[in-house]
């Protein structure tokens, strides 16, 4: 279990300005600015939960993850992970967590993947039997059989990522931190990775904390979302709550035959081409079903679909609302 209370963290950052005059000045004096990375951050995560940690860049996501991993010490506040303070008992703490940095690999570049795995087995003191069973399981779930003996540099991005995730789970960590795990992957690979994470969470009860900008990852994997902006937790709730609270608009797409049709107040046509029309419905003024009935009575409708606000748009609305 992860329990975080009132975490605060500030940084001093040196400023650098452009231009010849500034470069000259900088030779003699450096200016600094204070960055409040985390202000009063609190949340609790139970074992086996999968949460999405979202927020714009620079909001404080990586600072939080670093504190939870034990790499960074906060200025004030408490943080207990699995009964330990991460930065105080570093070695015991990190032997129970796994971390995947989306853009930085822990696999040795020029040697076969399996060599890195064998090394990790030593590093984490994994007993032979557990290593074998974990490895077999991971190889099966992630389809790694054919690439285990390939040097990392010859793997495609998707293959590398699958190996990367396997590497982080060899020691059966209780908590898995995933930072942009699907970035740069093609559609098939993304789905494979998502399925795998769901399975691991389900079977091993591994707590998963996902930091990502890919809202489809969030939608596929997590129920609970933590939104952080400018160092503060702005939201801690479920995806469905979020959608309900923040989406006023449903989109109705119809394929029809006929001419014009009129719409009730609260609905307006966004696009109309060749017998396809996209209608935006403000559900506070009129229900989607009312709009649909109205259209059906006017023209011959061949196909209908109703969509919630897209998650990306939702996030944009969120950022706007919280001024981040």
């Amino acid at each position: 279990m992860i329990a975080v209370h009132n975490l605060c963290k500030t940084f001093r950052v040196a400023k650098r300005n452009a231009g010849l005059k500034e470069a000259w000045k900088a030779l003699f004096r450096r200016e600094h600015e204070i960055v409040h990375a985390l202000e009063d951050v609190s949340f609790t995560i139970e074992d086996g939960e999968m949460i999405g940690y979202i927020g714009p860049n620079g909001a404080g996501k990586s600072s939080t993850i670093k504190i939870l991993s034990g790499i960074l010490t906060p200025d004030s506040g408490t943080c207990i992970v699995n009964g330990r303070v991460p930065w105080k008992e570093r070695r015991a703490h990190v032997s129970e967590i796994g971390v995947v940095f989306g853009q930085r690999s822990q696999l040795f570049w020029d040697v076969p993947v399996i060599d890195t795995f064998e090394l990790l087995k030593e590093v984490y003191w994994i007993p032979e039997r557990k290593y074998k069973s974990n490895l077999d399981r991971l190889v099966a779930l992630l389809d790694l059989k054919d690439i285990l003996r390939t040097p990392t540099r010859q793997l495609s991005l998707g293959q590398r990522m699958r190996c990367e995730i396997a590497a982080s789970l060899l020691h059966s960590p209780k908590i898995l931190f995933l930072d942009e795990p699907t970035i740069g992957l093609d559609a098939t690979a993304k789905i494979a990775v998502r399925e795998f994470i769901k399975t691991i969470n389900r079977e091993q009860k591994t707590t998963v904390i996902l930091t990502t900008h890919d809202m489809q990852d969030i939608e596929a994997l997590t129920e609970r979302i933590l939104l952080i902006g400018r160092g503060r937790i702005l939201l801690d709730g479920t995806l469905s709550d979020l959608k309900e609270r923040y989406s006023e608009t449903k989109t109705v797409i119809i394929k029809y035959r006929g001419d014009h049709f009129l719409l009730p107040d609260g609905a307006k046509v966004v696009e109309r081409i060749n017998g396809h029309a996209t209608v935006a419905v403000n559900v506070k003024e009129v229900s989607a079903s009312a709009v649909i009935s109205s259209i059906v009575n006017q023209v011959e409708v061949q196909d209908i679909s109703v969509q919630d606000i897209s998650l990306d748009k939702l996030v944009v609305e969120l950022y706007k609302e919280f001024l981040i």
Partner: protein, 258 residues
């Protein structure tokens, strides 16, 4: 220990993938060391001697320093290249693994191409041992070994200091070269030739003289004082402040994050 061997095996395997680069590198290392050796040769052929040391005596000194440096550079390369380890996030990865941090930095890079310098040093040493006029005895052999160990300790500690400083700033650290590369280059000659102040500096601040100059005097029979023979042991003490600085650096990293 077995873990370090596993790392070594992987590094070996990795570097063997690039045989051409590796060979060129090793040859280049050899050539650099060779050009220093040739300079010594030319200087002596022109001048004959320096500060009461002959050519062969200086070669003894040169070989020890070069050997200690090559070995340090090979195994402590992780500290030597620490700026990039921090900047590319590899250090975070190290922090997230349940092993000692110093161990992991050591194991993170093992540069076997330094063998080019090592070969040069061994060849010169083999030549210098019989020709330097040293009256060899068991005690003298022990002295030689201590010199080497002291040298490895001092150079390695300097690399650790360099890495530790990276936690505080990434600019302006090239001054450390004065002691690492400089130590190797200036240490080619017995440190007394540079004058009293320099000798004092390299005795009490960066103890190069403790493994190079004083034991050399004992080897050459210019003193019978056994203290001179054991001087390298004092140079081992240099690793303490180096390690303390390192701990300070890691602490700073955990509180400022980069």
């Amino acid at each position: 220990m077995t873990l370090y061997m596993k790392y070594l095996a992987i590094h070996l395997k990795s570097q063997m993938q690039y045989k051409v680069s590796f060979t060129l590198n090793a040859v280049g290392q050899f050539l650099i060391a060779f050009s220093v050796f040739i300079s010594v040769f030319f200087m002596f052929s022109r001048f004959g001697s320096v500060a009461d040391f002959t050519y062969n005596q200086v070669l003894l000194c040169f070989a020890i320093v070069l050997m200690a440096f090559a070995i340090s550079e090979c195994f402590f390369r992780g500290f030597d290249t620490f700026p990039s380890t921090i900047s590319n996030g590899e250090f975070d990865r190290i922090m997230v693994r349940p092993r000692g941090i110093v161990f992991q930095v050591l194991a993170s890079k093992i540069d076997l191409s330094r063998i080019g310098r090592l070969v040069q040093a061994v060849v010169v040493l083999i030549y210098a041992i019989p020709t330097s006029g040293v009256v060899w005895s068991p005690l003298k052999v022990i002295t030689l070994v201590l010199m080497l160990l002291g040298g490895i300790a001092v150079f390695s500690s300097l690399f650790v200091v360099y890495a530790a400083l990276c936690f505080f700033t990434i600019e302006g650290l090239e001054f450390m070269n004065i002691f690492t590369d400089g130590g190797r280059e200036f240490g080619t000659y017995p440190l007394s030739i540079y004058g009293k102040e320099i000798l004092k500096f390299f005795t009490f601040v960066v103890p190069l003289a403790l493994f190079q100059y004083f034991p050399l005097l004992y080897l050459l029979g210019r003193t019978d004082n056994l203290l001179y023979m054991f001087a390298p042991l004092f140079s081992l003490l240099f690793s303490l402040p180096a390690y303390l600085l390192w701990r300070l650096g890691v602490k700073r990293y955990t509180s400022t994050g980069s």
